[in-house]
Amino acid sequence: MTQKISRRDFLKLAGVGAATTAVLTGCGPAAKFVTRQPYLKMPEYTYNGESTYYATTCRECAAACGLVVRTMQGRAIKVEGNKANPVNLGKTCARGQTTLQGLYNPDRVTAPTKQGRAKDLSGSAMNWDDAVATVSDILKKYKASEIAFLMGTAPDHLFDLATDLTGAMGASAPVRYGALSMFEGRATLAQAAQEMFGQPALPFFDLASADVVVSFGANFLETWVSPVAYTRGYSKLRKGHDRRRGLFFQFEARMSQTGSVADEWIALRPGTEGLVALALGKLVAEARGGSMPKAFASVNVNEAAEKAGVELEALHVIAEEFAKANAPLAIVGGPALAHSNGVETTKAVYALNAAFSSSFFLSPLAPGEDVYHRPASAQEMSEFVKKLESGAVKALFIHGVNPAFELPKSLGFEAALKNVETVISFATFPDETALLSDYIFPDHHALESFGYQRAYTGANASVLSGLQPAVTPFVDTKATADVLLAAAAQAGFPFPYADEFAFIQGKLQQFVPIAGGSFAAPEINAFTAFFQQFGGWWKQADLVAPTASNGAVNAPEAEFEEGEFFLIPFVSPTLGEAGANKPWLQETADPTTTVMWNTWVEINPETAHELGVENDDVVKIVSAAGEVEASVYLYPAIRPDVIAIPFGQGHTAYGQFAAGRGVNPADLFGAKFNAAGDLAYAGVKVRVEKTGKKQYLSRLESKIGVYGEGLGEEH
């Protein structure tokens, strides 16, 4: 034996060592064997290794898009659009796709919790029997007039249940609200329709049948009312009729994602949308000849163009296209509605449609609806908050809405909540409102729930979209409908339904005898089975262009607060109102800026230069109501006197992906309302202050910047 270790031996030893390391650390799966947990009993229609599909409805917003959920061995793998549903015809949006990351979110409320307004996650778990007893005690303890329900815009079956329950108890009807419905200006749209057409209906802009579309601030391709339906319509518009591509023009002060696909994007002064619509109407009427509609008679086109800061020539070009179009259409929405003159602006655009368009309709009512029941406007919410503050409400039930985040701080919800003796939240996620509650009794996630949702617009059909569970509950949740029904039974209210499913069947009963629906069934059990199989029930509706009273329409000037810059808050196209807790939505780039995971402030590069700020500089935005700090994004398509901030971030709770990220521009809103009661948030003006801090935004686009300014020389 030699006394030396040769190099060869050393390598051999090293080799053994390496092999050992490889075996132990695993060049391959860390654990060789994985335990499988098969079903106790295989559900019907389920086969090993094969997917089962369930038709249900998306609840990420209230548009009622149909989904088909692909499940495998009891887990939801993928959502796809339901091709049968007339609203989305098999398509989905980004938020709908990530609904699965809500279902399997690590931050769900995992059990009924005695929260005790702890403001953090320190609440203690309860069992469901005690939870039901708690609700039942409240129903018994307080007078009916002291109980209030605050609900979100989805799901509709639970709202119906709460309506029936409060009716049976003699309590006031549940109040519905959602930040999206505030940003959509639903009250304004309905009010204008009421004044012009005698019906408080939502409009249905049928893009698919139009060939020239002019939009006044409507962000209909993003989050507005029914974005998937409108995107489908937009696609048809562009594909054109007889292969003639439809045209699309957008008037707005800040280029939205919708505006970015327009053939011409025209910046106007915020609040002048109605004036421009009337001026456009006058030009079109002149170009077409014939009698001048009363609505446009008194407007001075040159003056309007000057007030709006729009080039007269651009107005003429658009009017010309609009006049020679076969099926012109004007849309109004977004910040245009959120001015003090929002109702008049809407009426001006409706007048354009009433005079020239054959693609403008009032939305067909959902099955079983007698009139469009819109969610509460911000003004109604403000009155509701005042009621809470007065102590008249002793017990408040909250479901499907997060008012501590979704209501502007200026309405004082958080402070008013202190005067409510008992607050019960049915939140699936530990959002801001849930943490301020006495109890959290978590509802199932949408993909674990039964239910139905009405489509309020987006299809030329009357649509009731059905929900059914695609998977069994992932954590210890209970359907809120079942909690309420059980508690009402314990409290001794005569309420005829045994559980949620029986309630839904009871509500579907009325549609069984109706002929001409998407399917027919002789009796309710067969009807319910079809309802689940097809993902809902719908009936073709004959759309009739509404007849307008040929009255005069005014375009009063919008009122603004004192301040340096107009503020345009817009709902983040990717996050929506409640997407911030889904990591893939956070990592999905904003379409126009490509920013991920944070809030930014859009400033025109010229303005930024004057202010002495650059990309990623943190600025303080100050309004009369509050202030927020966020990083600057030099946005090339925004008026120099306007700054814009997306809504969707700025959570203080709502799980690890949302909490402590970005800011909420609603903190800047005052409490001024337009004539329909919608918040006039677009009337807010702000001041921009430098902070000297820098916070880099994560963008998908190159760091070089929009115009290559990062290259260090002029492009």
Binding site: Q3, K4, I5, L13, V16, G17, A19, T20, V23, L24, G28, P29, K32, F33, V34, T35, R36, Q37, P38, Y39, L40, K41, M42, Y47, N48, G49, E50
Partner: protein, 185 residues
């Protein structure tokens, strides 16, 4: 410095240290090998041999094999379908977990032993459709007491050897069966 270390290693103490180190390395390696070779604990020490001998077809319990990717593991209710008719089911100690599963409504947590790594997308159906039988890959189950006793190591060389053999002389099939994307994606 290195000279010094080598010098020490050649001293008697150093040699003892070397031997100990070598032993440690070898024993750890042996343990590692034993660890990955030993069968996992199963809820029931399931005898495939006895079931196969009683003419229970493979596809009776693993019906997924000729439908799709996964052959699947039987649910306790499937076991119970036959076993409730056998008196031994009520008394056998081996079948205790099955009785419990049925009584308590808890699934049996089987551990599959015929596995391919995560990056292999294996599909049973085309293999059965091509005329292979279960025994071709899973061994002579009728004579093996346990499924893990299958002597066949399922690695890529073995897969490809068969794929080559089956596709020889057929360029279209060769293209498909020897393609990376057939199994890896």
């Amino acid at each position: 410095m290195i000279q010094k270390v080598f010098k020490w290693l050649m001293s008697p103490l150093g040699r003892v240290a070397l031997v100990i180190a070598a032993l440690a390395i070898v024993s750890v390696a042996m343990w590692g090998i034993a660890y990955v070779q030993s069968p996992p604990a199963q809820p029931i020490d399931f005898p495939h041999q006895r079931h196969a001998a009683n003419q229970v077809q493979c596809l009776y319990c693993h019906p997924g094999a000729n439908r799709g990717a996964s052959s699947g593991l039987p649910t306790p209710s499937k076991c119970w379908g036959c076993h409730q008719q056998l008196s031994i089911t009520q008394t056998s100690k081996l079948l205790g977990p099955l009785r419990d599963a049925i009584a308590n409504g808890t699934p049996l947590q089987w551990v599959p032993v015929a596995q391919v790594p995560d990056f292999v997308q294996y599909n049973h159906r085309p293999h059965l459709a091509a005329g292979l039988s279960c025994e071709n890959c899973h061994g002579d189950v009728a004579s093996l007491l346990h499924a893990y006793e299958n002597p066949q190591v399922m690695n890529m060389g073995w897969c490809l050897a068969c794929h080559r053999e089956k596709s020889a002389g057929n360029p279209e099939l060769e293209k498909k069966l020897l393609d990376c994307a057939t199994c890896h994606y």
